[in-house]
Symmetry: C2
Subunit: 269 residues, 2 copies
DNA sequence: GACAAGAACACGGA
DNA sequence: CTCCGTGTTCTTGT
């Protein structure tokens, strides 16, 4: 469930906290989410210094001096949390890094997630093929992305290869605010609708970032964000009513995901 | 069935023949392979001059002065053939361009194919997402393409988004000459095998180009190439014997395609 | 059993 | 494999 805004916040907090620290220990409790043997992590990480942390869609990327990189994806849910000096990590910890100053961080994963170790110059198909960052797009470049594309708009926006970082939580608010039905054909969208959509992607994601991200997730310091029910027009309000037209909110299926919509404001046409 | 070598030859012949000619007429007999209404072709093409023809994997790209571009993919089989002065085009013609000098060319398609008209600066997802040209790769860059990729080697090489222009005709010879089973996992290939594979991709494709491409296809002047049974070790020789070890050649299924292999030389491991 | 993201694979449509 | 989009399956743990 963590999406772009959560990752932006976590990356920022990690940058403020971890830059320059030298890795002392690596602890691994769930080897299945790794891309190489656990002993490679033990071999390459101790002794190296953190250089820069960034977010890439739903991924956190930790670059170390000397050429290695850790790529973390929390999958359907999880946390990356700072570990205070000498604090023990919780039982649910799947992975932890500890630094020479005895601080560190731990990672929990509910279901599927990845903690991959690569050289910076190594191919990593899951992140190399991500689409552009929605917050770095201009309206023109966003509309260009949609040009000559087929399929439903929701599938497109959730496809990380097309545009990175949007998941099933924020998409609902984005589409509602743009008054676009999730199953609309891309080719049927008007210029006006595409502009709306662009604007609402920016608005919703930036609003969440400015509020410290979702109140359903924990940030790097274990705190909840402030983007919650007050910001959400229709998501998770089945049987409630549309704030615009008072129609009854419906829950529909879109591919393998569910979505709340207003059947009037978001006409499928 | 036309693949990279056929397209290289056709593009070369079109370049020698058509550059600078000015379009007079467009004839369309099968609108379903177009990406826009037939009348757009009539509107944008007459009066413009051909600038350059190139091949992109299995596509032919015709650039015109003034910003338009025609993209042709013959799909499962077809021809692009020069039309002599005042020659009528055959009944099976699906598309034809005629120039002011009364020469031209026609396109036939067996089944599915595309004849798309775009502005040069317009998105065209089918060609924008093609992988690199195999004949422009170095061995190092080819091996890099395979790094950290999962799945079977044949699927990878046939996937036009990974590497462009290889189809089910040439892949059989390439894999046999490299002694690699089509279902081998990419991650299991040794350095030596990847080098072999690279070498054989280059060898087979270049050999076909130097022979004027496949003898099963027609070039731009309606002639067959010389790359045929003499060059093919095991393809389409079910029940025959391997030229290396005399084992009986087998026909196996690989995904949705069939493939002839030597069960001894191309061990699946 | 439902659920969720993503990858791999199969399917139908053009 | 001709290519697209979409559907299914598989993963895992509550």
């Amino acid at each position: 469930m963590p999406e772009l805004p959560e990752m932006v916040i976590i990356a920022k907090q990690m940058n403020q906290t971890l830059i320059g620290k030298v890795v002392k220990d690596v602890s691994i409790f769930q080897p299945k989410c790794l891309n190489r043997p656990a002993k490679d992590y033990q071999k390459f990480l101790p002794g190296v210094q953190t250089e820069r942390i960034s977010s890439l869609g739903k991924w956190i990327r930790i670059d170390f001096h000397g050429g290695m990189r850790l790529l973390i994806n929390l999958g359907m849910g999880g946390e990356i949390v700072f570990l205070k000096r000498n604090q023990n990590f919780p039982d649910k910890t799947k992975f932890a890094l500890q630094f020479r100053d005895r601080t560190g961080f731990f990672v929990t994963l509910w279901w599927f997630g990845y903690i991959h170790l690569v050289r910076k110059d190594e191919n990593h198909p899951m992140t190399d093929t991500l689409g552009p960052d929605p917050l770095s797009l201009t309206c023109e470049s966003f509309i260009k992305l949609l040009e000559n594309r087929r399929g439903e708009i929701k599938s497109f926006l959730l496809n990380q290869k097309r545009i990175r970082g949007i998941g099933n939580f924020y998409i609902q608010e984005i589409l509602f605010r743009a008054r676009i039905h999730p199953r609309r054909e891309i080719g049927s969208l008007t210029q006006y609708e595409m502009k709306s959509l662009f604007k609402m992607i920016q608005t919703v994601l930036n609003e969440s970032i400015s509020l410290g991200s979702s109140s359903y997730e924990l940030d790097f310091f274990g705190e909840k964000g402030q983007y919650g029910l007050n910001q959400i027009s229709i998501g998770y309000r089945e049987g409630g009513s549309c704030p615009i037209c008072q129609s009854q909110i419906e829950k529909i299926r879109t591919g393998s995901t569910a979505q709340f919509i207003c059947p009037v404001c978001q006409k499928s046409i």
